[in-house]
Symmetry: C2
Subunit: 521 residues, 2 copies
């Protein structure tokens, strides 16, 4: 499979005028093919094709939609080592991680295929007529329908699982929405390989070509053009807070505002409860350093702050963490830009009033990120909101609190988060219960006794949370509930059987349905 | 029960400095008590009390929450004729309508009480752990939790069913959210009576006083202060497009943006399909005039435009509608401001290029609205977007199309709507099927063979639709699905049983739950 550097507009490969190149994450040097930057015309053509394809794609039987998702997965699997090697060069991520991420990506597509077939997300409801009521009660039937074409922004930190065929794309397809992807310029070759797989799957499945397009480019104007195109009905994004906020503003300023699902920034507070900390300070410290430095700390769920009550146990934890840090090797970061932002962010953090450097990982050459852990008193943390700024990379802060009341105070004042974690023993449960209402307000996922960096792709996962963790805390971008982001309800009143969508006809095809208020599984 | 003109701040009656009076809808004259306009401090105190009460209110057992909703309903029922008489004077709506609306209001509260107990809206999901998987699969459990305190804006056109204890308040309470209502200044006495009923119910149910507050006032700054208060987590609104857009802007400009559910404007296109029109032109005309003039046309679902293909049948329909109109009496409109806007809007409509007056109702004295029907060719309609502006009141336009292709063209170009309707025979079904994808994109509810003005409060109702019908087409403001507007998901990972919310513990209390992907009703 050759990489040509072209955009994919509804099945057609198209060259552009201005061009850019991929960069080797390790060296920062440009290499290989020239990639065409999509023009305004390309954006418009991709969106027009998506709008044209939308009704055809969404009205196919759910079995066809599911088969299409599985076909995309098969074709990505078939890319095998070609895909891994390209992604390694562009992202700097190691082979095992990227093979795992490919598994996650195809697993995600197949999970959504099964979800499409399950059909519960249609929220079918039937209220039967009652002619004897005053006034007569009509027959009403409700289902969820797709919002329309979705713009997906590939993320830099998951070149497979949250990029061209990642979670946003999979859930949008599952909802019946055509997708126009804006590929992340940090991995254009990886994007092209995956886009080619999807494009082939669209053709083989006999779907309209406009079901999928990929647009490349390095300018913010490309994203703006995509989000403001009147045919785009929703946006999925994973990236920086600045990027997400800009998309929110563009979407809100449209003649017809549209929903933006932006997963933006989170520092994922972890609380070490006293009894557990006393029991296992050293084990916790080891796991902490492993979690914060995993993948050069480039996870949305990286544990950016840890809270604990001052004392011997915390001192043991800190000493062990300092020791553990020493052997953490530097790892190549995703881009030179991210490396630079990390270095600057960590240095800003070091200069904040009250911040003390606890320890660092091994010296990190070139574009590698060096792990760093700071300590700060809760009072100093509370005095400076700047401590809450996400430093994307392998750094973290331990907040030393006077008592659990102060732990609660710090947690209560934090911005919205993707996750929050409690490490606890049974002896801590009573105190933990007191914290639970605060944690529920704070984050989309509350974790007991592990570290936040693992995000399982399943039904009960929430990878979302109150602003600014995401632009819209009513949703998740990982797990099957993500499909609901791209749906809206329609009610059919007294509609003749032949004009009802098949799922709402009297012979229910086996989906969950709520009939006159009662659920029937 | 005396009306004192005070605001209700978390159970406390509070006077204000500046004051205003209610106006008799019929005469336009101010009468009776002085009402206190809420100050910025009142807004802040109400929101602070709501935030303080939020966790207590939302963590009560669902049976208590349901009992509270029923208690509110009982207390509103007990207001009986006092409430009806006051609402008649303030709104100009007739007695039978307001008694019906009271029934709708208490029915709505009781439906939400049953919905709270049903519990399906919690979207419970349990994924069991699997230690043998690589990596080990955690135990994940998901539920929906309330967003937080909700600001509700009372609507002028439903002084009971969409005001202080209306659909937005009922669904927010049902979701577990405390509510701060901004009462509509067109019916402050009605608002106070209902607020007193809720306040008593809060106290009797042993709920925290901050569960509910009512703020009165006539200035836009009051609404702005409420929507921008950092403790408010979501907004429910029914009213004008300008008002809704302003709230959306305020909400989006906050440090922490919040969802706004504004039900704004809709002209509810009705299509008369050829076979049905030929069969029943006269009956349709009679029902049309009845629907467009019902309640002086002051329904969000008023049939503002009718589409049909030119020809004998349509001529018969028009002739019959013209005749029927003659005996439509003028009815008092809700406020002098609405009357003025209606008169001006209808006159603007009359002056649009291509608009022809078909007929009018009886001459309407004072603040009464005079029914008016216009005709226009589809070509002229398509040439002037101004025809799509909602004229709130008893006016409507019949669009004469060349053929069904032009009907489809007009429908395809319309802005988002709350409803769209097809009148059809079996002979029309094939053509109707061709229109269905357009109608699904157009509106939240598709009605066959009746008129849009009836909005049943039930499970499968959607009273919502794409922008600008509402600010957020992903939801409904009528029916039990409305509860979902005020919820967000939280996932609990490996949480000890004692720290899980009771609904997610292993012994399921009887709610719908999805276990490892399978629904269990």
């Amino acid at each position: 499979m050759t990489i040509t550097g072209e955009n994919f507009i509804a099945g057609e490969r198209r060259k552009g005028t201005s061009t850019f190149q991929a960069r080797d994450a390790q060296s920062g040097e440009a290499f290989g093919e020239s990639f065409a930057a999509a023009s305004a015309q390309d954006v418009s053509d991709a969106c027009a094709a998506a709008a044209d394809a939308q009704n055809d794609f969404s009205s196919r039987p759910l079995a066809e939609r599911a088969a299409f998702l599985r076909l995309v997965a098969d074709k990505i699997d078939a890319l095998g080592d070609t895909l891994t090697q390209r992604a390694m060069k562009e992202s700097g991520l190691p082979e095992a991680r990227l093979n795992g991420e490919r598994g996650r990506t195809v697993g995600q597509l197949r999970l959504f295929a099964a979800e499409v077939e399950n059909g519960g997300w249609q929220q079918l409801r039937i209220d039967h007529a009652d002619a004897d009521r005053t006034p007569p009660k009509p027959d009403l039937r409700l289902r969820m329908i797709p919002l329309g074409p979705v713009a997906v922004f590939g993320a830099s930190n998951f070149p497979l699982a949250f990029s061209v065929a990642g979670g946003d794309t999979a859930s949008a397809f599952a909802a019946g929405c055509c997708v126009v992807v804006k590929g992340h310029p940090a991995h254009p070759g990886t994007s092209e390989l995956v886009a080619q797989a999807i494009t082939e799957a669209v053709a083989e499945a006999g779907l309209p070509a406009g079901t999928f397009s990929l647009l490349n480019g390095t300018e913010n104007s490309l994203g703006e053009a995509l989000v403001t195109d009147p045919r785009i009905a929703a946006v999925g994004f994973t990236g920086s807070r600045g990027g997400g906020l800009a998309l929110m503003q563009h979407a809100a300023a449209r003649d017809v505002p549209i929903p933006v699902y932006a997963e933006m920034s989170s520092i994922n507070p972890v609380t070490l409860m006293p009894a557990r900390l006393a029991d296992a300070a050293e084990d916790l410290a080891k796991a902490y350093v492993g979690s914060l430095s995993l993948g050069a700390g480039q996870f949305c769920t990286n544990p950016g702050i840890v809270l604990a009550v001052k004392g011997d146990a915390l001192d043991r934890f800190l000493a062990a963490a300092k020791e553990e840090l020493k052997s953490v090797g530097g790892q190549t970061m995703l881009t030179t830009g991210i490396h630079k932002a990390y270095t600057e962010g960590a240095s800003r953090l070091a200069q904040r009033t009250g911040a003390e450097l606890l320890g660092m990982g091994e010296e990190a050459p070139g574009t590698c990120g060096q792990a760093q852990v700071f300590t700060v008193s809760a009072d100093a943390f509370l005095a400076d909101k700047g401590f809450e700024e996400e430093v994307f990379g392998p750094s973290s802060i331990v907040i030393q609190c006077e008592d659990l009341a102060q732990v609660k105070q710090v947690l209560s004042g934090l911005e919205g988060q993707l996750t929050t974690t409690l490490h606890m023993n049974e002896a801590d449960h009573e105190d933990a219960a007191m914290l639970m209402p605060v944690l529920e307000q704070l984050a989309g996922r509350i974790i007991a006794n592990s570290w936040p960096t693992g995000v399982d792709v399943t039904h009960a996962m929430v990878h979302g949370g109150p602003f600014p963790a995401t632009s819209d805390g009513r949703s998740t971008s990982v797990g099957t509930l993500a499909i609901e982001r791209f749906l809206r309800p329609v009610s059919y009143q007294d509609m003749p059987e032949s004009l009802l969508p098949s799922a709402l006809r009297s012979e229910n095809p086996g989906y969950l349905v709520r009939v006159d208020g009662d659920y029937r599984a």
